[in-house]
């Protein structure tokens, strides 16, 4: 060996030891392009997670035109792993690199569709932060004065009908009860009670001095005005008309009484009320012993 080749070999060794780490050879790093190819093979073998891990590791590496492949396969992996949003994002980065990029027909249809959707989203479908608030919309059917009969509820199907019917029934029962147990006509004919005041007579107890007698009639029921007629035996000696309130009351009178020998005389009071003008009269008799006292 000559001196020159020996020096050349030494320099080569020094250079290789120094530059090795810079080139990544000493650390055993593979070429990014090789890793990309490996990732693509993993994807084709259905190992999407493994492929994605490899491809993610290449982010930021200088890949040149292969950057497009990296984004495309990353998108494919995301889509297959159920992340359509991330897939769409990766596809849109492909389209940023090459806007007219098209997938060929050898690619699975679902991936092609997802890719085209990403393109559509990109083309004029920027997501706005603004939310459009639209006015509500109303359409009103034709107006009518009344609801058609078939939709009108029958009154007896309403709660208020039965409530009112119950109240009315209760009212009727109360009125009937208060009027005397079910009698339809509540009118009662008048009654009369005749009484007289004895005059002091010297000879015969219970006798009356001729001239006058104090009497009183007690009338109840019936309807005013009342007509009271006083008869001595069968002779009318006085007729009185008592107007005013209906009901029970006592009416005193002083009647003329003719004298004579002691004899039994019959004093009768008869009453008729407004209704009984043409009907039966109510009578009340009293027997008097009338004397001409000494």
């Amino acid at each position: 060996m000559t001196r020159l080749p020996r020096q050349f070999l030494c320099w080569m060794m020094v250079l290789s030891l120094g530059a090795g780490p810079w080139l990544g050879i000493a650390r055993g790093e593979a070429d990014p392009r090789d890793r990309l190819e490996e990732g693509k093979l993993n994807f084709q073998d259905g190992e999407f997670e493994k492929a994605l891990a490899l491809l993610d590791g290449l982010a930021g590496k200088e890949l040149g035109k292969k950057e497009l492949d990296l984004r495309l396969y990353s998108g494919f992996c995301h889509y297959k792993l159920g992340n359509p949003e991330k897939a769409s994002s990766e596809f849109q980065r492909v389209l940023e690199l090459e806007p007219d990029y098209r997938l060929n027909r050898s690619v699975a249809p679902d991936l092609r569709k997802a890719f085209e959707n990403a393109r559509r989203q990109m083309q004029g479908e920027q997501v706005s932060e603004v939310i459009t608030i639209r006015d509500p919309w109303i359409e009103v059917g034709p107006a009518r004065k009344k609801m058609p009969k078939q939709f009108v509820k029958k009154f007896y199907k309403q709660w208020w009908f039965w409530a009112l019917a119950g109240a009315a029934a209760a009212g009727v029962v109360l009125v009937v009860k208060s009027s005397g147990g079910g009698e339809s006509d509540t009118y009662l004919a008048p009654t009369i009670d005749l009484s007289h005041r004895a005059e002091d007579c010297a000879t015969l107890p219970g006798s009356y001095q001729a001239g006058k007698i104090d009497v009183a009639v007690a009338i109840s029921r019936g309807e005013a005005p009342y007509t009271v007629t006083y008869l001595l035996d069968s002779e009318v000696i006085e007729t009185q008309t008592l107007s005013g309130k209906s009901g029970s009351f006592t009416y005193p009178s002083v009647l003329p009484l003719a004298g004579g020998q002691c004899s039994n005389r019959t004093l009768t009071a008869q009453v008729k009320d407004k209704r009984d003008n043409d009907g039966a009269q109510v009578k009340d008799d009293e027997t008097l012993l009338v004397c001409e006292c000494p």
Binding site: G141, R144, Q158, L164
Partner: protein, 156 residues
């Protein structure tokens, strides 16, 4: 006698008056919801507006979504309002209150709708289960649920 007749007469008059008043006010069938749906649009069928492609599953790429509701037997004045809630249950948008039948007459039906834009707006980025709550006179009357999905399959 006279008193009882007057009381009975008054009772009968009150009863008749109450019946007449109650009949005038309440003998109509109540306003009710005939149809409610979420759809991608509206269309006219025989002069009546009906929902177009109603459903519960829609794509985030759908242009807009419409909440449609139809009431029968509308007699009185009402207001309607819609509130849209995102999958995270936040109020996304609420409509203004709109008057229904201000005339106060009887109407066979009243149709109401409110729409939101999906594609190109924030709603597009919120896939998941949404709900729309419809209020009548401030009271909730209907809740409609639907799913917005970024996957294929929903109505476009």
């Amino acid at each position: 006698m006279k008193k009882r007749t007057i009381v009975s007469g008054l009772l009968v008059l009150c009863l008749a008056g109450s019946l007449a008043w109650a009949k005038r006010v309440e003998d109509f069938v109540e306003m009710r919801i005939e149809q409610a749906a979420i759809c991608s649009g509206l269309k006219k069928v025989e002069g009546i507006t009906v929902p177009k492609d109603p459903g519960t599953f829609f794509s985030t790429r759908v242009r807009k979504l419409v909440s449609y509701i139809r009431f029968r037997h509308v007699m009185k004045r009402h207001t309607l309002q819609w509130k849209w809630y995102t999958p995270s249950d936040k109020l996304y948008v609420q409509s203004s209150e709109i008057d229904v039948v201000p005339t106060g007459k009887y109407h066979d039906f009243v149709t109401g709708a409110h729409e939101i834009v999906i594609r190109g707006e924030t709603a597009m980025l919120s896939p998941g289960g949404w709900r729309v709550v419809i209020f009548r006179d401030g009271t909730m009357v209907k809740t409609l649920r639907f799913t917005l999905s970024s996957r294929e399959g929903g109505a476009e």
